[in-house]
Symmetry: C2
Subunit: 450 residues, 2 copies
Amino acid sequence: MDERPAMDELVPRLRELARADGEHGEAALLTALHPADLAAALPALTEEERFALLRRVPAAAGGQLLEYLDEEGRAALAAAVAPDALPALLDAAPAERAANVLRLLDPDRRRETLAALARRDEVAPLLAYPDESAGGIMRSGFVSLREELSAEGALAALRRLRPRADRAYYLYTVDGEGRLRGVVSVRDLIVAAPDAPLAGLADRDVHAVDADMDREDVARTLRRYNLLAIPVVDGAGRLVGATTADEVIDVLAEEATEDMYRMVGMDESERVFGPVRSSVRRRLPWMLVNLLWAFLAAAVVNLFDGTLARFTLLAALMPVVAGQAGNAGAQTATIAVRGMALGELGPRDALRATRKETAVGFANGLAVGAVAGGALYLWEGNAVLSAVLAGALAGAIALATLIGAVIPLGLKWRGVDPALAANIFVTGATDILSFALFLGLAALLIGRIV
Amino acid sequence: MDERPAMDELVPRLRELARADGEHGEAALLTALHPADLAAALPALTEEERFALLRRVPAAAGGQLLEYLDEEGRAALAAAVAPDALPALLDAAPAERAANVLRLLDPDRRRETLAALARRDEVAPLLAYPDESAGGIMRSGFVSLREELSAEGALAALRRLRPRADRAYYLYTVDGEGRLRGVVSVRDLIVAAPDAPLAGLADRDVHAVDADMDREDVARTLRRYNLLAIPVVDGAGRLVGATTADEVIDVLAEEATEDMYRMVGMDESERVFGPVRSSVRRRLPWMLVNLLWAFLAAAVVNLFDGTLARFTLLAALMPVVAGQAGNAGAQTATIAVRGMALGELGPRDALRATRKETAVGFANGLAVGAVAGGALYLWEGNAVLSAVLAGALAGAIALATLIGAVIPLGLKWRGVDPALAANIFVTGATDILSFALFLGLAALLIGRIV
């Protein structure tokens, strides 16, 4: 039994290896390590270190490594390996990983590399599917058996085919045209009478997904039915592969990261140890969009300069309203974005969800407004000012929850990623709303405040 | 082949069924539906509708349903089913799901229900593990075979045991004491010579996890090695079960939801259609904590009332600085929280991560400061004011990224969930910092501004 090596020890060793250029003895580490551990350590290295390491990975080890790399890692590997060494490396990888890498290459290099593959007939058909589809995340090498076969005949076929152990979990039965008919387990085969036909043994109630289904929908389907693999069929119902739960785990983790990052205005490809330059480039544009909103909000505040000049405490209190409303809007937006990602919130539920959030916002707004108004009264002893703060808080929080629900749902409806809403629209809109409401109320009642 | 029923159609039918109390014919829907679809539809119902439905689920259908329910659904089922009907329902469920439900009951009801189970000897040992551990999320019913068996003997054992098809994927080999020794696939058994001993067929390089390992670590291990199941061993190395990828998918989805919710100050058990009252109760406390911070920030602003009174445009511009800095802090905190959740960011990397984020923040701060200062100069034509805004933005953004990195890492180090950082500490701290920096600079230079 194996212990997972601690990243804290592995990373410095790899870093050293990356620096000690070309030594033969040290490169043995790359082959001796479990490829999954090497893949897990790569994101902690700098771009240069990673390049120096991947450049020297032997073809067989590189093929195994590919199984465990995420998209960023695959791109780094493809960039580091010499063009004439790439085909041998891809031939040593599972066919679907070879296809993942080929999709990343420019058309010319893709064509040349594909032509040089020994297994090009196995890999080429996979290139028809985009990365984001069921076909793009399916594994090849699954076993399909004609349903006319007997249990004994199926076992004989398995002995002949010798599929990878982790592809022999579900055996799919097909008709004469290759159309998916059912699923049978190896357990069923060995328990059944030798001459029992597969058609009788197979479970016909099999969930399949279309090859062009979005990979997030595939992930949700597999998750809903607690499956370890789900077969993928083409437009004619023919079995073309299967997606496994380990691929779905990666899809769900990537999608969750993407949503979390977009909600604070970041690109999903940001990594803890990505290069500084690319982090700046990726975050700056969103910050400038936010700056535009902020100036708009400043212009709104500036409309009330007369009121502010007469009573500067208003300037100190206005961020209280904006902060609370912004937070309430972000909460609702998070619930809406996550609910849609998990498939709990469909388009027809939108109205109900919005109503519920507005009710929550109204109740929270009243409560926060009452507490804040009371606290301010204890601080300043100005009853009218306290009422203005309480009223503005209650109104701004209630409206912010409405905004936080409506904007993501509206973006989804228009085909835009709802996760983008939280940062760009919700905060900006709740800021402007809060300032206008609080300072507007104060301006109306300024005579009674001062 | 099955089509997934559209939730939009299923939910109204279930709602109707919940209202038509006690009719026999309609309850057939609960048995005819795929239990996974019923489980997926439940969160869209109100508490009362769910209760009315679950109260009438027959024991066999309820046992199947249990496989697909999340923790909230299990609690709802346990609350709806009559105490004397619960044992029959749990006996119809997988043993690990029965244990999930028993853990939710109060000690008396747990004892009584367990005593009434036909399969109590299978379920009772599982109760020793907490829900959050490897033992708490493992499946029972996995096959373990003595490594002295021959391939033929192992196949005979499988025919006798008839394990559930989805538990016969990996067969674990054990020694005379039940200690895990290796893993062998059914494929290997049928391909091998009949008299080949398992000890020779089994792969000894098997990743196992301790029963008391935190379930998040289990999920990360399974994910890193692209496994569909991982064996669970006790302190003596004895095989006690295995965790499957479908359980890990649920763990990872729940943890991601928890992180996203906590980052905006919400409880992880909030659902889109949870009751309004509980949503209010769960969000309000965090809003009041934020209110405290907001008042602190207001007090800081109020220190500069003289400056603000002389030049009210400062009041309009101060939220620009706070908004940008808050956003930069939230971005860094998100990267840190997600990096720790995915296992990409270990404690020893903390310093490097902080240094990188500060560099990004410094660069972004300079850029945003330059743009904002330039825009303000075009608007107002006041060079000193523009310089104050640019300088405050650059400084506040750079410091906010530092805060956004340091606070989550520090919380993690102190054993507190770092996701709590973003909402409670980072925003409050960046607000205060931004106001102090901008108004402080303005107060120093007020003579040259006005």
